[in-house]
């Protein structure tokens, strides 16, 4: 009789333990998707955060700002990284589906850098010249003070926030059909580094093996390079915020992660990667 009581007690403890394990909250995986410009930064954030928070699981993928926003709308990601603000039409979709306008969190600043091949003698360009070059009106380097050679254009795919931002703020019309679209700023940098007459654009964090081109607002302005000072002061003409978007106000693990990103540790990584902190 005693033995059977013991057995029963043991079985009860096992059952309670099993039930307890079943209800123990599994570590919540945070998914982050979107801007290719931000993917290195986002991966770095995730990597460092997971080291200091062993229970956190953060999965980061790129695809472009547009892809990230679509994923946020259809519920496929918790956080969307975007290198451009959300469009009204995208906000409308969020309203229709979640009765929410979404939460916009500026998490870093970036200057869109103009990349030239290191052998290219051109040092600076105005916004107007850049517009003409990328829209195909200016086709020879000679027209902007360079050698007599055709300009080779390298840009981003249309799902990219950098593509949209550069189009809306610099090109201001359609890109030239000859502009070769590449998946990610790293690919643009690589293409320009191999092409003597190439020109491309992208996030400052990726610019190695190429030359930065100074950018002027107009003929009479001073040319500025994308640096922390010029971007912070607003002197560099092609600067922008990098954003994180959420469907609703963050809670729990996601809130902790975002607070960390906006805190000193996260913002320090922004500078390390080559972007500029928001504060």
């Amino acid at each position: 009789m005693k033995k059977s009581n013991k057995t029963l007690r043991f079985a009860a403890i096992i059952a309670i333990a099993l039930i307890g394990f079943a209800f123990m909250p599994a570590p919540k995986k945070i998914t982050v998707k979107g801007s290719d410009t931000m993917v290195i930064l986002a991966q770095k954030w995730a990597e460092v955060y997971m080291k200091s928070h062993p229970t956190a699981v953060i999965q980061v993928t790129g695809g472009g700002s547009g892809v990230g926003i679509s994923a946020l709308i259809n519920g496929a990601t918790d956080i969307c990284n975007a290198s451009r603000p959300m469009k009204q039409s995208e906000m409308d979709k969020l309203k229709e589906r979640y009765a929410s306008l979404g939460i916009e969190i500026p998490c870093a600043k970036d200057g869109i850098t103009i990349f030239l091949n290191e052998s290219n003698p051109v040092k600076e360009l105005t916004l107007k010249q850049l517009s003409n070059i990328f829209s195909g009106k200016t086709r020879n380097w000679k027209e902007v003070g360079g050698p007599d050679a055709d300009i080779k254009l390298y840009g981003r795919e249309n799902s990219s926030g950098t593509y949209v931002f550069f189009k809306e703020n610099v090109v201001k019309t359609d890109y030239a059909a000859s502009c070769q679209t590449l998946p990610g700023t790293a690919a643009v940098v690589n293409a320009v580094s191999k092409d003597k007459f190439g020109i491309g654009y992208g996030g400052a964090a990726y610019a190695s093996g190429v030359k930065h081109c100074g950018v002027k607002k107009d003929d009479k302005s001073t040319a500025y390079m994308a640096t922390a000072e010029t971007i912070k002061s607003g002197q560099y003409p092609i600067s922008r915020y990098l954003y994180m978007y959420l469907r609703n106000r963050p809670t729990g693990e996601i809130k902790a992660y975002i607070d960390w990103i906006l805190g000193p540790e996260g913002q320090k990584l922004v500078t390390e990667i080559g972007y500029f902190p928001v504060k």
């Binding site: 496929a76 009204q88 009765a99 306008l101 106000r249």
Partner: protein
């Protein structure tokens, strides 16, 4: 010596033989190599030609593919089961396809868009949308629309594929039947401002049922009913409320008219207003609406949306004349034979009426997690705000004109005298009595939606329409009733009480 000489000759012969044979072999090898080279060159040339051919075909295919990427296809199907409590509906529970739409969007060049959207129903295909949009490329602010598209109003433009409850509010269904109208629209939406202005000109009669004396719809294909074009305008502005949400406010107005189709026009309270010169004169359709949508983040999305609309909505009447010639009668008096013909003209008029109306709706929507949504809507529609409930069903205006007789005599011959007497009798029936079309309604709709994924959702909804109880006469019977036949059995709705007509809907929607 001779031996040496012979040996030398033999050696020479062998040497030369060997030399020439080697030379010949080498030559042959060279020739073979040349041949091989030629073959390779030929093959390379063939392959190059083939590659060029492939490149050409690829370019053509890419060109074709690029054209195809300019065509976008989207659509949705709403299949549902409904159970209605209304006594006049049979069968009162049924499966049905509410919507089966495919939207084709073609953008041949940036900024120019063509849209066509048919609705497929068993045995019937109708074109719901067919329009072209031209967006100006410089300021990216103006766009011009032409064709058949949604009227500019919040609930009208809010697609039923996104709507949180099964149907639009009663007031919207009444003043914007079928939602779409044919015309042109200018949209002004500066990209830097959360402002949108819509100015539209429509035929104005799309979806309206206009009946003749027999009750037949004389506006069945939505061709224009009159020469007057209706103007619509809407303006909205969106505010951000920090990081917690946003508020959009707006207003819209309708300035239109419709052919009266009769010469008599009544006021909203059924009193006589005026007599028009002819039936082609116009009656008013003028109203304004104010809207607001508030989005707030309270443990997930929460939205409060509403709109209030009031104004005057004209309903055309009709005028119908029938003539009956009675057989000739004769009478003899003082050598004069009088032959009399009686023509009876009966004019049936239903006067046009300009009703003052008002209506509103309020939605409360709460999203719970990523997949669940609950919604409550209260909507109210008073189609005749100048008539109190106890006045409905009482004939205030009945301008039946008494029959009058005109005599016209003509004489023929001298002796004996024959007089031809033509008598014309005109009877005018001019009446319109308030009734079911003046009754106020309030409707409560409760809905729960489960989003299975991005494409599929399920909705369970219960709609509770409640008519306002209207006048009771001295015998305790309602002044307003309507009849129906169900399964061959006649029935009667008495509006002195609330008519039971709740509807339960279980809907599945697939969107792509």
């Amino acid at each position: 010596m001779k031996k040496v000489k012979n040996a030398l000759i033999t050696f020479g012969v062998i040497f030369f033989s060997l030399f020439f044979s080697t030379e010949l072999m080498a030559q042959k090898q060279v020739d073979d190599l040349k041949k091989e080279q030629d073959t390779i060159k030929e093959n390379v040339s063939t392959i190059r030609d083939k590659i060029s051919g492939f490149e050409e075909r690829l370019a053509t295919a890419e060109g074709d593919l690029a054209k195809l990427t300019k065509i976008k296809l989207s659509g949705y199907i709403q299949a549902q089961w409904q159970n209605s409590e209304a006594a006049n509906i049979y069968p009162n529970n049924m499966f049905m396809i509410r919507r089966a739409r495919v939207k084709f969007t073609y953008e041949p060049v940036q900024g120019i868009v063509f849209v066509i959207q048919p609705d497929f129903q068993p045995g019937n295909i109708t074109v719901k949308d067919a329009y072209a949009v031209a967006n100006e490329p410089w300021l990216k602010t103006f766009s011009l629309w032409a064709g058949k598209f949604n009227r500019p109003n919040y609930e009208v433009e809010y697609s039923s594929s996104n709507r949180e409850v099964p149907e639009r509010s009663r007031v919207i269904r009444a003043i914007y039947p079928d939602e779409r109208a044919t015309g042109a629209k200018l949209e002004i939406a500066p990209p830097q401002l959360p402002l949108k202005i819509q100015l539209a000109l429509f035929n104005g009669n799309d979806g309206l049922t206009i009946t003749d004396v027999n009750g037949s719809n004389i506006n069945p294909v939505n061709n224009d009913f009159d020469n007057h074009k209706d103007f619509m305008g809407r303006v909205t502005y969106a505010f951000k409320l920090g990081s917690v949400g946003g508020l959009t406010i707006g207003a819209h107005g309708y300035y239109g008219a419709i052919k009266a189709n009769t010469t008599d026009v009544l006021n909203s309270d059924y009193t006589y207003n005026k007599t028009l010169d002819n039936i082609g004169k116009l009656i008013r359709k003028n109203w304004v609406g104010f809207e607001a949508q508030l989005y707030f983040d309270v443990l997930g999305g929460l939205a409060l949306k509403g709109e209030y609309i009031f104004g005057i909505n004209g309903t055309p009447g009709y005028s119908s004349k029938t003539s009956v010639v009675s057989p000739m009668t004769s009478s003899l008096k003082n050598d004069t034979l009088t032959l009399t013909t009686l023509t009876t003209n009966t004019i049936n008029n239903r006067p046009a009426i300009e009703r003052n109306f008002n209506g509103y709706y309020v939605y409360l929507i709460k999203n719970i997690g990523k997949r669940n949504q609950i919604a409550i809507r209260y909507d109210y529609y008073d189609p005749n705000s100048k008539l109190a409930s106890d006045q409905i069903g009482i004939a205030k205006w009945d301008a039946g004109i008494a029959a009058k007789t005109d005599n016209n005599y003509t004489y023929a011959g001298t002796d004996p005298v024959i007089a031809t007497n033509t008598q014309t009798k005109t009877v005018v029936n001019n009446s319109l009595k308030s009734g079911t079309s003046d009754i106020k309604y309030q409707t409560i709709t409760l809905a729960y939606t489960y989003f299975f994924d991005d494409n599929i959702k399920f909705m369970l909804a219960y709609e509770i329409p409640m008519n306002k109880k209207v006048g009771v006469n001295s015998t305790g019977v309602g002044n307003v009733t309507s009849t129906y036949t169900k399964n061959g059995e006649p029935g009667i709705f008495d509006y002195s009480d609330v008519i039971k007509q709740n509807v339960l809907t279980l809907r599945m929607q697939v969107k792509f």
